[in-house]
Assembly symmetry: C2
Homo-oligomer: 196 residues x 2
């Protein structure tokens, strides 16, 4: 079993999210999607209210170049979003509401593509509704559940759990008791999960 922790606003989470389900499938591993919000972690750990990539422009400038190169390497489309980070809370709540739905993985991948390849505003309810419909979900039902107290509490609980379990960024993988941070560790995490 492998837990994949991500935030829809995170650029490197985009790349890893496109890859992780296929990698788990090939390795015969159960995948558990774990949406959470980076914002509260960055505020608690770094005292900042923005992405570390915006706080340090040198690091941010490099990140966009690097993400573009990595997308090319993995054959993924990429277009730098005009807004970064985007508001990811609504999409994260939909993902929480959809954890048991057949379209959950497709929704996650489509939402990341909307953010990092299609120039869409994933903070807008109409866009999120479109994305749900595009992967075969019932947008009205899923959005209603996303706005419920139960689902809001679920996302807060995942975010709290992320902090308690030592996460400090996304994507992160937890498998067999070990934490792996970053798209760059996805292959190592799969190897560890399968006993490597």
């Amino acid at each position: 079993m492998l837990e994949f922790w991500f935030d829809f606003a995170s650029s490197y989470s985009y790349i890893a999210a496109q890859r992780v389900e296929a990698l788990c499938g090939r390795a015969g591993l159960e995948l558990r999607w774990r949406p959470f919000l980076l914002g509260p972690l960055f505020t608690a750990q770094l005292g900042i209210k923005d992405s570390p990539f915006n706080v340090n422009p040198a690091r941010g400038q490099y990140m966009w170049k690097d993400v573009e190169r990595q997308c090319r390497k993995y054959g993924l489309p990429f277009a730098r979003p005009s807004l970064f980070p985007q508001r990811s809370v609504l999409a994260a709540r939909v993902a929480c509401a959809a954890l048991e739905s057949a379209w959950c993985g497709d929704f996650i991948r489509a939402t990341f593509r909307a953010n990092f390849a299609e120039g869409r505003d994933i903070g807008a309810e109409a866009v999120v509704g479109d994305l749900i419909t595009s992967v075969g979900g019932d947008a009205g039902d899923a959005l209603a559940r996303a706005h419920s107290d139960t689902v809001k509490a679920q996302l807060r609980q995942f975010t709290d759990e992320a902090g308690r379990r030592g996460l400090f960024g996304a994507p992160s993988v937890i498998t067999r008791g070990e934490l792996f941070f970053g798209q760059d560790r996805l292959d190592d995490a799969i190897a560890h999960a399968t006993g490597g």
Copy 2:
């Protein structure tokens, strides 16, 4: 040609520094060692006076675990130093003074091992002298040059240049006009250097 930018206090620089000369040799690439100091960059870019790994304990705790795993992966010895980050300025000045010496690469690798595998204080002049001797250098001569105004200015110039060219951490590689950050990008950097 490939420039390898590093700070002797940087844990991931340790791993990359052990690998880079062999990788360049195999690829037929000229390697240029570029010692610099991370401290002034972190202060200018982040307003901090310590390693980001100490400023954020969650990230620091993960880093040590990850460095240990990566050392195992690359067959490198590792022992977590009791002091982090170590004072790297003297060793960096020696590296500047030794750029044209045959023992430069050996000194760099030995000094990183002293820090990250042998529990030695690389801020101590006696230790640095021992390291120079151990790789066939003249410790008295090299240390005298390391304390000269010319060499001090050279290290300041490399550090200023690092900031001007967009570096924000170590190790970093610059080759064919592109910046690659991190031990995790060393193979990509070599591929780019050789036209890949």
